[in-house]
Structure formats: structure tokens, C-alpha cells
């Protein structure tokens, strides 16, 4: 076994230790906290590189996979193992998480510089990284679930980092509870899987639950409605992924989660945690795809994968359409993330692990870039998040603008030069070839159009035109007008420091370059993950199917970009209060989109009302039924106690008290004999002696 496999546990444990050390330190050790967190991630990245190197060079002879397991807990006669696995999927995720995490940590040093809870922030960040890396290396659904819950917890802590804001506290609660619904499904799936196969290890030399033996057993067992057990377990596990990855209908928490600090949004709600759900599906892909009919393009079709595809496709278009009508810079990105996660799910469903994972990796980089870029914008605009109050930032923040443009073009899928194009194209390509239905493909294409459109809208509103942030200040009063003019320069947006821009530039580089590892001409990524042979073949690019689709997707992107530029770029809004162009044209649809299809309101009216009713019912039962029973017991006890008291007082104590009183009086009487005069005693002794002598004399005579 290679040393890196044995020591893979170091990667999550390093940030865990960093979090621990930061947590026990005294408060104002900012430098130490940042160094520890960033250092642990950098070391983790180096180790990940070693792990990655170990997995390279195995094309053609199957997938490289080494596991290390050891028994942990004993249940009755059975041992629960935990352990880790090193395969291409793990290695690629490890590199992504540690590298993006490290850059975001560095960015946070600048972004959180003025926050007084700097230490707490880095402690949570490091803990989060530990949980996420634990998810990635786990070779066991149990360890996976534990790490998954650590991730959920830290997500809660970080969303609610500014807990003094009621909205942040509520958002944290919402995120926690919503993902909990999905986690329940995951837990049920986990238990069922254990009951069915007797193991939770993914790979275990032929005995693991993702290997052929266990899969065959699960396939033959049928359950409700004739479905195979494997399908049911797959769907339950997918429910966990739905919660974590913000798929419809559990997507509601993700946009609200933007209440957290921006680096958190970038780290958790763009690059890593939400990708954990996608990663989960990719990890248990053998379970999802078992028994499927192999389609024309070598992709299996099963019930689970069909469900995943549909959920993903609906999420992709649904969230993309909402993003069109949002005005908060981070909320637009949040809905964009939900939409892109939908693409990933769809990619897993229609094209297998490599397709979905490729988009996950590229998305992690450019979405982290966009979020950090928006953080830089927010920081520069004095904590302003409303895009209507920005504008013209191109002039003030040239570096941020340049990298943001790269991220935006990557997300929109600008042809050939940006990673998003290649990964999204691969998903659309697979969806096009999907034998079950064509609708996901069409939904995906429409989503791509929306994506290009809303990103153009955002960039046009934020970076072009003229700055609208002063409007409010000068509108406050004319008397202060002259004064506000003189102090305007300090209110102007400013470029962020290097500690924030350098990570952005690095991320921008990757947002461009990463695309080239998975082009149709050189599908290295696909070959790496599946272990299949591949070669450089430029002619594949010009195959009629591929080329046509690429052209179509390019046309879609250009339409979106053009439409966005035409509506928002060419004719800039003049004031903050001005109506949106779409709102003016289609007020009803705009209202619907702006309010996110009223999903929150629908939940409020149904699920939450039901929940409130159930709570009321429980309260009623508690107060009157169980409370009544308790009260009855109380009265019986009190009655008995009263009876006991009477018996005690009037029967037991009475006799005892009388005895005691008599004894006391007797003692008092006798004590009177003690006069304290020695001569009296002597007299008594004399009299007694005389009496004794008389008695002795008379006694002898008698």
C-alpha cells in the first residue's frame, strides 16, 4: 500500500487540529488563527497533490482504488468499520477543496479584517474544511454521514455568524432544518443499506456495498411496488443530496444562506458544501446505476438516475429563471448556484460520474471566483449589496472587474476559452443523447439562456454605467449637499487590497484553464475518473453531432449575452428607484420571479402551518392530557402525604412526646438534689454512714 493511502486521514485532521488550537486560544491572536487555518489547508493541498500523483497513470487498466479500513465500534457481534478510500474521485475533490479553500481562507483575512470575531470565524472555517475533507475521503457511509453532519453544523454556525442580525439567525435555522429533512432520508437509506448488505463500507475488496456482490443481492430483493431495494435506497440517499445541494423542493435555504459573510458563501454555498450532495451521488453511483439498461452511449438508465435527472433539470431552469429578477448581488449568485447544481445532478443522471463531476470542479472555481468577486465589490462599496445602487465600478475596481468578467463568462459558458463552456456542453451533449426523454435537454438549454442573460444583467448593472451609490446620500437633504460633495471621494468605491485580489486572479486563471482538461478532443478528465483509455483526437471536435451541439450552445449563450446587453447594458438605468426593464414590460412575470415563485409563501401556508398546527396539538395534549395525568398523580400523592402527616403527628409522635416530657421532668427534679455545696454532700455521707452502721449492727443481731 502506498504511504499516502495510509496517511490520507491527515488531510482532514490537519484543519481539525487547527480549529481546535484556535478554539482554545485567547481571543486576540488573529495572526496565529489565520496562519494555522491557511497553513493546514496548504499542507492538506500538498498531501492532496501527492494523493493525486498516486492515482495518475492508471489509464487503460481500470480505476486506481486503494482503501484503508479498520474496525471502530462493536455492535453485538458485528464490528462497524471506518476507513478511507483513494481513487480519482477522492483525489480530484481533495485538490479542489483544499485549493479553493486555501484561496478563500486567504481572501477572508482581508475581508474579515475589521471583524472582532475574527478568531471564531477561522475556527469555524477550519472545522468546516475538516468536515468537508472527511466527506471526501470517507470509504464508509458511516464516516461519511458523521463528516456530513459536521459540515451541516458548521454551515449553520457560519450562516449565523452575525447572529445579532435576526435575518442571519433565521437563515441559519432555516438552512439547518431544511437540510435535516434531506439528512433524514440519507439516514434511512444508510440504515436500510446496512440491514440489506451488512456493511457500510463502499469498497472492501469485493465485500463493500458498492461492489458487485452486494449490488446483485439488493437488485434481486423487491420492495413496495416491485421496485428493487437498491432503487429505494438510492432514492433515499438522493434525498440527502437534494437537501444538501439545494435541489427543488429543498432549495429554499440556499439563497437565504447568503446572510453569512461572503467568504462563507463562496466556500460553503458555492464551492464545497453544496457540492457534497453531488459528490454523494457520484460516490454511490454504482448503487444508483445498478441493473440499468445500457443505452446507446454506454450510459445506464435506471429509475434512480431518471429521478435525479428530472430533479436536476427542473432545478436548473427553475432557479435560473428566479435569478433573472433578483437585485441582491449575492442572491443572484445563490440562485445561479442552485441552478448549476441542478446541471450537475442532471449531468450525473444522463452522463455518469465524469460529466457531473467535471461541472462540479469547474463550477467550484468560477463560482468561488464570482462570490469572492462579489465580496470584493461589497467590500469596496461599503457593505452595499443591492445591484441597483452600484454601477460604473469598472472605473473604480479594475482588477475586480477583470476577474469578475472572467467568472461571468465562464458561468455563462462563453465558447471555447472558458471552462464553463466545456463542462456545460458535456452535460447538454449527454442530455441530448439521453434515451428516456428530450425534455431535460430543452430545459437545460433554456437554463443556459437564462444563465447568460442574468449574468450579463448583473455585470451590466454593477460594473457599467455610472455609480448610483451617492444618490441616497445627496437625496437626504439639500442643506448638506455642499458638504456631501466635498466628502464624496471617501464614499467612492475603492479597490480591495492585494490579499483579496490575488486569490481572485488565481481563481480566474483556473476558471479559464480547467476547461481544457475535459474537451471532447482530449477527454482527460473522463478517462481519469473512469479509468478508460483515451487519446488526443482533434477530429472529435468536428464530428457532426458534437460540432452541431457546440454551435447550438454557443448560439444560446450569445443570444443570452446579447439580450442582456441590449436590455441592461446599452441603456443604463439612471436612478436607483427606476423600474427594471423587465418589470416595465411584464410586471406579472417579474413579480412572480422576484418573489421566487412564492415558494416560501407556499411553504409558509402549507408545511409551516401544518407544523404549527401539529405543534399546537402537541402543546394541547401536553397541557391537558399528559399534564392532567400528571396532575392526578400529584393530587393522589398529596392526599396520601396528608394522611401520613396526620398519623405521624397524632399517633406516633403523641406517645413519644409524652414519654420524653416525663423523662425531662424527672431529670429536672433529680438535678435539684445537686446543690453545689460540698458540706451538704458530706453531711449526707455522714448520715448514710451512720445509717449503714446501724443497719449492719441490727442486721447481725437479727
Amino acid at each position: 500500500m502506498i504511504w499516502i493511502v495510509k496517511n490520507l486521514w491527515l488531510i482532514p485532521v490537519l484543519p481539525l487540529f487547527a480549529a481546535g488550537i484556535i478554539a482554545v486560544n485567547k481571543q486576540p491572536a488573529r495572526k496565529l488563527a489565520a496562519t494555522l487555518a491557511i497553513g493546514s489547508m496548504a499542507l492538506g493541498f500538498l498531501l492532496s497533490l501527492c494523493a493525486f500523483a498516486a492515482t495518475l497513470g492508471h489509464h487503460g487498466d481500470g480505476v486506481f482504488r486503494e482503501v484503508f479500513s479498520f474496525p471502530w465500534i462493536q455492535f453485538g457481534g458485528q464490528w462497524m468499520d471506518i476507513g478511507w478510500v483513494l481513487d480519482p474521485l477522492t483525489a480530484i475533490m481533495l485538490m479542489m477543496v483544499t485549493f479553493v479553500g486555501m484561496l478563500i481562507f486567504i481572501f477572508s483575512v482581508g475581508y474579515m479584517a475589521h471583524d472582532e470575531n475574527f478568531m471564531r470565524f477561522f475556527c469555524f472555517l477550519a472545522l468546516f474544511a475538516a468536515g468537508m475533507l472527511g466527506v471526501v475521503i470517507a470509504n464508509n457511509l458511516f464516516l461519511f454521514f458523521v463528516s456530513w453532519e459536521i459540515v451541516g453544523l458548521t454551515s449553520y454556525l457560519l450562516i449565523g455568524f452575525w447572529y445579532h442580525k435576526p435575518s442571519a439567525a433565521a437563515a441559519a435555522k432555516k438552512a439547518f432544518i431544511t437540510t435535516r429533512i434531506g439528512d433524514l432520508g440519507l439516514l434511512l437509506g444508510m440504515v436500510w443499506l446496512y440491514a440489506e448488505t451488512g456493511t457500510l463500507n463502499f469498497y472492501d475488496g469485493g465485500k463493500g456495498c458498492l461492489e458487485s456482490g452486494a449490488l446483485a443481492t439488493m437488485l434481486t430483493h423487491a420492495t413496495i411496488g416491485g421496485m428493487a431495494v437498491s432503487t429505494m435506497i438510492g432514492l433515499l440517499i438522493f434525498l440527502g443530496a437534494v437537501g444538501k445541494s439545494g435541489q427543488v423542493p429543498l432549495h429554499v435555504w440556499l439563497p437565504d444562506a447568503m446572510e453569512g459573510p461572503t467568504p462563507v458563501s463562496a466556500l460553503i454555498h458555492a464551492a464545497t458544501m453544496v457540492a457534497a450532495g453531488v459528490f454523494l451521488v457520484a460516490r454511490v453511483y454504482p448503487l444508483m446505476s445498478v441493473g440499468g439498461i445500457i443505452g446507446a452511449h454506454g450510459v445506464p438508465v435506471t429509475t434512480s438516475l431518471t429521478v435525479i435527472t428530472w430533479v436536476g433539470a427542473i432545478t436548473a431552469i427553475f432557479a435560473a429563471s428566479i435569478a433573472v429578477a433578483q437585485n441582491d448581488i449575492k442572491r443572484i449568485l445563490a440562485y445561479s448556484t442552485v441552478s448549476q447544481l441542478g446541471y450537475m445532478m442532471m449531468g450525473l443522471g444522463v452522463g455518469g460520474v465524469a460529466v457531473g463531476m467535471f461541472h462540479l470542479i469547474t463550477h467550484a472555481f468560477f463560482k468561488a471566483l464570482l462570490f469572492l468577486g462579489s465580496g470584493s465589490v461589497i467590500h469596496g462599496c461599503h457593505e452595499e449589496q443591492d445591484v441597483r445602487k452600484m454601477g460604473g465600478l469598472k472605473k473604480y475596481m479594475p482588477v475586480t472587474f477583470a476577474v469578475y468578467a472572467v467568472g461571468m463568462l465562464a458561468l455563462a459558458g462563453f465558447p471555447l476559452f472558458f471552462s464553463g463552456f466545456w463542462s456545460k456542453d458535456e452535460i447538454l451533449h449527454s442530455a441530448h443523447n439521453w434515451p428516456v426523454s428530450h425534455i431535460p435537454f430543452l430545459l437545460g438549454c433554456t437554463g443556459a439562456l437564462f444563465t447568460a442573460f442574468y449574468m450579463t444583467r448583473q455585470v451590466a448593472l454593477v460594473f457599467f454605467g455610472s455609480y448610483r451609490g451617492h444618490e441616497e446620500k445627496s437625496a437626504h437633504g439639500h442643506s448638506a449637499h455642499a458638504h456631501s460633495h466635498s466628502s464624496e471621494s471617501s464614499h467612492d468605491p475603492h479597490e480591495s487590497p492585494a490579499v483579496m485580489t490575488v486569490p481572485l486572479i488565481i481563481l480566474a486563471g483556473f476558471a479559464i484553464l480547467l476547461g481544457f482538461v475535459g474537451t471532447p478532443a482530449w477527454p482527460w478528465f473522463d478517462g481519469y475518473l473512469t479509468g478508460e483509455e483515451f487519446k488526443f483526437d482533434f477530429s472529435k471536435l468536428t464530428e457532426p453531432g458534437t460540432l452541431g451541439l457546440m454551435l447550438a450552445s454557443a448560439a444560446i449563450v450569445f443570444t443570452g449575452l446579447g439580450l442582456g446587453w441590449f436590455l441592461y447594458g446599452k441603456r443604463q438605468r439612471k436612478t436607483v428607484a427606476e423600474k427594471d426593464v423587465l418589470e416595465a414590460a411584464q410586471p406579472f412575470i417579474y413579480k412572480l420571479l422576484e418573489n421566487k415563485y412564492f415558494i416560501d409563501e407556499i411553504y409558509e401556508a402549507t408545511v409551516i402551518r401544518f407544523n404549527a398546527f401539529a405543534a399546537w396539538l402537541c402543546d394541547f395534549a401536553d397541557q391537558w392530557i399528559f399534564g392532567g395525568a400528571v396532575l392526578l398523580v400529584k393530587y393522589i400523592t398529596v392526599g396520601l402525604a396528608w394522611l401520613y402527616r396526620l398519623t405521624d403527628e397524632y399517633f406516633v409522635n403523641l406517645g413519644f412526646d409524652t414519654g420524653c416530657e416525663a423523662l425531662r421532668e424527672g431529670g429536672g427534679g433529680l438535678s435539684k438534689l445537686h446543690t453545689g455545696r460540698v458540706q451538704t454532700y458530706l453531711r449526707v455521707i455522714g448520715v448514710a454512714l451512720v445509717a449503714l452502721i446501724i443497719f449492719l449492727i441490727w442486721g447481725r443481731k437479727a
Binding site: 446543690t675 453545689g676 455545696r677 460540698v678 458540706q679
Partner: protein
Amino acid sequence: MTPLQGCLLVSALLFAIGFAGAVTRRHAILALVGIELMLNAANLNFIAFWRYGAHPEALTGVMFVIFSIAIAAAEAAVGLALIIAIYRHKKTSNLDEVKELKG
């Protein structure tokens, strides 16, 4: 009346006088004098029973009495010291007023 009877009569008289003094006197030193008288009555008995007893040549009675006198001297010293201590403490040597042990 034999000499022994005479001696016993004197010693009984002496004991009765001493006892009456110890019991009736208010003054602590006079009570102590009474006690000494009683002690000497006992010593007289020792001498009388030895002198007129079965073995007058054995000197046993004299030995007893010398020890008894020595102990009486020590006892008198302790008694006087107690009386002085009580006097210092209570500014009186009247035995009727010394009754701390009253129950």
C-alpha cells in the same frame, strides 16, 4: 476498761469533733482543720490496734501512720492552694457561696 478501748474512745471522740467541724464550719480553712482532725483520729486507731495487737514488734502500724501523715501534709497543701485559688477568684472563703456545681 482496757487501754485499747480507751484509745478507741479517744479516737472516736476526735473523729466526731472533726466531722462536726468539717460539716458545720462556714469558713473553708476551719472545714479543712476538721478534716485533718478526722484523719488524725484514723491514725490514732492505727497506732492503737498495732500497739495492742498480735505483733507489736513488727512496726507495721508506725509505717502506715508515717505514710498517712506524709500524704496528709501533701493533701493539706493541695487543699490550702485550692482555697487560696477560690479566694482569689471569688473574693470569699465562705463555703456556702461556692456552689458552681449546683444542678
